[in-house]
């Protein structure tokens, strides 16, 4: 099937996701140090087709997909499905009415 993206792109993508998730202090996080460590370790290889390198690249691609899709999923959820139900006041105001008020409160309240 089509080849994977280059390691540089995947690494940059993961760092972008971590920064979006954790804010400006993402460089102190565990994930940052682990990811950079793994990328550096697998950079140089003696063989032309190094299996460990390909496996690490696939794993990093998978992790990037995980981070990006959870972020997008959550964004879409908040955008479209996050609002919950309307209160009775809002429902009434949709058609231009207001809820009736009873000065002494309803019989079963209080």
């Amino acid at each position: 099937m089509a080849g994977l993206a280059s390691p540089l792109r995947v690494c940059r993508g993961i760092l972008k996701e971590l920064r979006a998730m954790q804010g400006p202090s993402y460089k102190q996080s565990l994930a940052y140090s682990y990811v950079m460590d793994q990328f550096r370790k697998n950079k140089v290889t003696g063989e032309r087709y190094c299996r460990a390198q390909q496996e690490a690249l696939h794993a990093s691609h998978t992790y990037l997909c995980l981070l990006a899709s959870t972020r997008n999923h959550q964004a879409l959820h908040n955008l479209y499905h996050g609002k919950g139900e309307r209160s009775p006041e809002e429902v009434a105001s949709l058609v231009g009415l207001r809820l009736p008020t009873q000065p002494g409160g309803k019989g079963w309240e209080k």
Partner: protein, 285 residues
Amino acid sequence: MFRRIVQLRNSFGNVISVCKSCPRDQYSRCLSKYSTASTERKRFYQDVSISQGDDGLYEINLDRRKLKTPGGKLFTVPNEALAIAVATEWDAQRETLKFYTMHLTTLCNTALDNPTQRSKEQMINSALKFLETDTICYRVDEPLGLVELQKNEWDPVLHWMENRYNVTIGSSSSILGPEIPQATKDTFQQHLSSYSLWSMTGLEFVITQLKSVLLSLAMVDRYLTVEQAVLLSRLEEEYQIGRWGNVEWAHDYDMYELRARTAAGALFIQLSSENLTVKRKIMQD
């Protein structure tokens, strides 16, 4: 075709066990971290860190408290990468805890607690049941555009899988699905029993999400990326989107959710079977 029958719309993903109040012992005040759907848990910790216990297993610490599973057990993972990924998930929560975004945590909890007490054989059997109605074997007769698309996209994966495992799997467009010979099923059963219980939990999860044994195995064998596997699983939907247009709040939402779950499952499998891949490399040299 049978894809949308099982839709896991539970807001806490795969957490099957309902956590009653955690057993209180004097050493760690374990809070009911996985409360019911009505109340929202606020983020009650500042830092997330990992530590290694005496037996080599890694644990997650929220502030100074150790993380526990919904079943009350201590949350331990066998390797550091998985622990860091889970810690990142917990760290990514703002304000409130949204368990439906923490897929790796959910998978670890299921593997650790095993709330339905399933054995590996049961998992393998239920996974192989998907083989008879596997997505990429189940073809349509019309519309022609979709038939072409299925042939061009699914056939290469089918042939690759057949070569890789030395099995024959046909594709068919009848309503009963393809006839899978028993030898094929035995080969797959043998292959699947070489996975550990943890990896099998993850693999069953991915198979249930993608509705296809062949796509999941192709992805685990690194022939497909997660995006490609999800695309192939949703081929008919993508075809219809191409014809009739995309609805963001349904199509994109489903796609990202499927991608997130599949990616989490794939990562879980890969990290749980790390020892397995090291062995293979030594044998090949």
